[in-house]
């Protein structure tokens, strides 16, 4: 095909590939770099390319003991922990049943669990907020947890079901044949083997809750301010430094998890985090 292969490297294709990669790297990291610059900018006036002055004073403001940001971070983490508990309590049994038991109307049940992914979420948030308003759940942590848990649940059911399906059924049969009750078998064989997947689903639900904006915007205001809401308010108020610092706080756990988790989870599931 090419005689030029002998003796010298094909320079042109290499250069093209290099340029192509550089372009993609800029598209991906350029916006993120801009965010980092804003996070450390003391002052940045038009039309300067770079901040007029760098510093950490906004970081001190974000992390001051009685600042809004720390309180929001606390609220966010608290809500995320409760969300994990609520959604896993409901999702793990369902995931087990989907993976292991014969279910009547199986296709219909699957359809119901898939549906939340297939519909735009605005009608859901709007009407839940309306109902919560009348029963006094708007603006409460419990209300926000319920909304987050409903969304986390759908995610967790799929991951848990995949985790249980991956457990070798012959091990369960062996334990049953040796006289273990169904519950003992589940507790000592199935559950430990499925644990990595279940932990992954817990982390996913946690991150999804941490990053969630729209549901909290409708159900949480004005009393529950999570980190994404604080970020949004800071940004809309024109305080790009505070917004960028809180954005970085939100990014770190997500990116760290991404680098670890993509090896052992299906892309369909991976892609559901970060809304």
């Amino acid at each position: 095909m090419t005689t030029a292969r002998f003796g010298r490297v094909d320079l042109l294709p290499m250069l093209t590939r290099g340029l192509f990669l550089a372009l993609i790297a800029f598209v991906i990291f350029g916006p993120l770099a801009n965010l980092v610059l804003w996070a450390f900018a003391e002052r940045w006036y038009f039309p300067n390319k770079f901040p007029n002055e760098y510093g950490l004073s906004f970081w001190y403001r974000v992390f001051q003991p009685r600042g809004n940001a720390l309180a929001s971070l606390g609220t966010s983490v608290w809500i995320a922990v409760l969300t994990v508990i609520v959604s896993l309590a409901v999702a793990v049994p369902a995931g087990y049943a989907l993976a292991r038991l014969r279910l009547p109307w199986r296709a219909g049940i699957l359809l119901l669990f898939l549906l939340p992914q297939a519909i735009p979420n605005m009608p859901v948030y709007v009407n839940i907020a309306r109902v919560f308003y009348t029963i006094g759940l708007n603006g409460t942590v419990a209300g926000v947890v319920l909304v987050h848990a409903a969304h986390g649940l759908v995610l967790a059911v799929w991951i848990a079901s995949a985790a249980f399906a991956a457990v070798d059924a012959s091990l369960e049969e062996a334990s049953r044949n040796l006289g273990a009750s169904p519950w003992t078998c589940f507790r000592t064989v199935t559950l430990p083997l499925a644990a990595p997947g279940l932990i992954a689903s817990a982390i996913f639900v946690f991150l999804e809750s941490l990053d969630e904006f729209t549901g909290t915007y409708f159900v949480g205001v004005p009393d529950v301010t999570t980190l994404p809401l604080l970020m949004f308010n800071a940004s809309m108020g024109g305080n790009y430094q505070i917004a960028s610092i809180t954005a970085l706080l939100l990014l770190v756990p997500s990116i760290a998890f991404m680098l670890v988790v993509e090896r052992f989870l299906k892309p369909e599931v991976l892609a559901m985090v970060g809304r």
Binding site: V90, Y96, M122, N127
Partner: protein, 282 residues
């Protein structure tokens, strides 16, 4: 024997029913409420007043929403196909590895952070313009802010391409390599192999990825609010505005129903595909 099977079915139902209850309460019911409230008048009777008002006030935004989401979906499809095909079929091993590492980054970045990131990057004084001016591609006087419909499309494509690419690259890697090698041996150039052999086999996956992205874009509030809050904007912003400023759930629900209708075709397609894939797994 039959009673054991029946017992297992009962146990299974008991285990899934709490989760089904949550889905019914938090997804199905609100959807039905949207349908009902969009057509219920003050006296409780049937009315088309809210729908008419929604269409009258927000016709431009509805058209704008369709335009933006369709344009973004096309952009996502093109970028995802290019990246996924290079990752699976590309000639240089090193470039493939680098690309595989690069493209995933926005996947886990929340939409709200994407909004903030793009708000600074695409602004008149943002890094994009500085780089373009510095590289001599445009002159400083013609630098403009991209924080309008273009900003929304860029943010959506940036955020969603990794998702579709990830799905697509997985499907492409599963295409029988014998087909590809046979075509290559017969002298087909790489792009012919892609168009004639690989793409037809991954059509279903691409469709699922695009439908899920489309639905996601119809649900995102933060990006349009942060990049382009003024009219014309996406209906998500209008819905939030009807509620926050007017407490007008009727028109908001009419708009919600319209956004459900926009997604309905794609959703049906996706559900059929996903259920068909999931059912034999039992």
């Amino acid at each position: 024997m039959r009673s054991a099977a029946a017992r297992q079915q009962r146990a299974g139902l008991a285990l899934v029913s709490p989760a089904l209850f949550v889905v019914a309460l938090f997804f199905i019911l609100p959807m039905l409420m949207s349908v009902v409230l969009a057509f219920r008048g003050k006296d409780g009777g049937l009315t088309f007043e809210h729908m008419a008002k929604a269409l009258d006030l927000y016709r431009n935004d509805l058209v704008f929403t369709v335009g933006i989401t369709v344009l973004s979906t096309v952009g996502i499809a093109v970028c995802a196909i290019l990246i996924a095909s290079y990752v699976t079929l590309g000639s240089s091993e090193r470039t493939r590895t680098a690309l595989r590492w690069l493209y995933r980054w926005p996947l886990f970045i929340p939409f709200i952070v994407t909004g903030q990131v793009m708000r600074t990057f695409l602004a008149k004084n943002g890094m994009l313009n500085h780089v373009l001016v510095g590289g001599g591609l445009i002159d400083a006087a013609s630098a403009q802010s991209l924080l309008d419909w273009r900003g929304i499309v860029i943010a959506f494509v940036w955020k969603q391409v990794p998702f579709v690419t990830l799905l697509l690259a997985g499907a492409m890697a599963a295409v029988d390599s014998q087909h590809i090698e046979a075509a290559r041996n017969l002298g087909a150039p790489r792009w012919r192999v892609l168009v004639d052999i690989v793409l037809p086999q991954v059509r279903g996956t691409l469709l699922v990825g695009l439908v899920l992205s489309f639905v996601t874009m119809l649900s995102v509030l933060s990006v349009p609010m942060m990049i382009n809050p003024n009219s014309p904007t996406l209906v998500t912003v209008d819905i939030a505005y009807r509620i926050n400023t007017h407490g007008d759930y009727a028109v908001a629900n009419a708009l919600c129903l319209l956004s459900l209708l926009l997604a309905a075709g794609g959703a049906a397609l996706y559900l059929r595909h996903a259920v068909a894939k999931a059912v034999p797994a039992a």
